[in-house]
Amino acid sequence: MNTAEVLVDKPVGEPAMQLQDVTVAFAGRKAVRNVSFDAHEGEITALIGPSGSGKTTLLRALNRMHDTVRSASVTGSVKLGPTDVYANSTDATLLRSRVGMVFQRPNPFPTMSIYENTVAGLKFNGVRKKALLDEAAESALIAAALWDSVRDRLKAHASTLSGGEQQRLCIARALAVEPEVLLMDEPTSALDPIATKRIEELVGELKHRVTIIIVTHNMQQAMRVSDRCAFLLMAEDKAGELIEFGPTARLFSEPSDPRTLDYVNGRFG
């Protein structure tokens, strides 16, 4: 529906997340260098590229997951709306309640029930009102297309769900906090094709609720789900660089950089 607009490179909404010269280094060695692009509201931005190109590293810089690694340093500027993500005044804990994350492998908390998993983020963030918890949980489970199958067994353990359902539970868990941006790190890499398809459909439906930045090494997936694509490639010094950023359809049909063309034609990676 928005494809026509995106083709002419006109964003649907305001920029939700803006990256300017973002560089991530571990113990001085750069893993990602000087990446700049904007992720817009109401859109899905995909990070693509061969393994080693720093997609996941870059993604984890956006909710400050590298904070826990002592040797990691992030330079450049990441902005969430008007908030400078790496400003001293920005609290990483609070930031992460605004920027959700879904991981490669489903990681529901095994000791918690389906309901407890869904509201875990809310409880971490100090929400105690039962009404708000219930409302957010129901809304998130509906949005994650899980409500109908789990509404009668919310007290069951999360481990009773299938792999695909567990991943949708993790999406619901992230959505329940009502984040502004949802980071997804190859969310279907551990799933079978049918579960993958359902997650992809789900991602498409969610973009009106939350800005999505998704890492994938599956080009078809990027084509199917994303509005805009950032193509990263490992430079000679092993640091990932942004080669090209633009509307997905254009990136795949008429890329401006020959390396992008090589990649989308499957010539390497």
Binding site: T93, N125, L132
Partner: protein
Amino acid sequence: MTTLAFDTSIDPILERRRRIQSEAAASLGRRKVYSRIALGICWVFLGIAVVPLIAVVAYVVIKGLPAWNVDFFTKSTVPEGIPGGGVWNAIVGTAIIGAVATAASVPIGLLCGLFLAESDGRIAAAIRFSADVMTGVPSITIGIFGYIAIVKNTGHFSGLAGAFAIGIIMVPIIMRAGETAIRGVPLHLNEAALALGARRATVAGRVVIPAALPGIITGVLLAVARGLGETAPLLLTIFGNQFLQWNPTKPIEALPLVIYNNSSQPYADLIQVAWGAALLLVVVVLVLSIGSRVLAHVLQREKR
């Protein structure tokens, strides 16, 4: 804008986002203070735990070292008041008990471990249960068993009775460590040898046990370390002997016994001997424990 069409459905979400974010912001200070206090308590507990443990080691070294001299390692115990003397009789006793207990418990423990690793039936479950019972049993009761089984039947205390009790403590440790190590041997090694037509005993001796050796050695050394430090069973079985005794069928002395008996004596020189014996015992036990790690590490690397 295209988003206009969704505004009505987005509204409750924006409203909820606002409420959640305000709750998150309002509780942030409290949550961070909680976190800091709780983590601080963990650090304090770490400190509380470290102090006595360091103190024990430090005291043993500081008080034990002055007791160490040539006599300490070469002379037997002398009565209180007479200068000189050492714990040679106890060193010999501990070595005899350790050697006999190890010689008896390693084959039994290892073969039982092999049996357990190769079987999953009810009998294996019963053996595993027995082993777990034996590891959970207070060592003093095993001392009682040594007394009943050996001392009472032979009519006198002896090093063998002590070795019997210590060996019984060691067997289940070796067994379970051996089982774990043997089960860790890749199945394809085992099957490749069997497919060549080798007999099970050959496969076990030539393939499985060598491959599991690092784990087995670690288990055996840990069992020996554990066995040498046991005191309670010895109190009921070897009686103690202030003279040098090489014959394991006679009452003999042992280092843990020296520590136990001397520490409650009112004489400073006897307590000094206790510290010296404690240092020796700790050194032996630590050498065995560290040695087992190093050896396992080296063997593991050689295999690659």
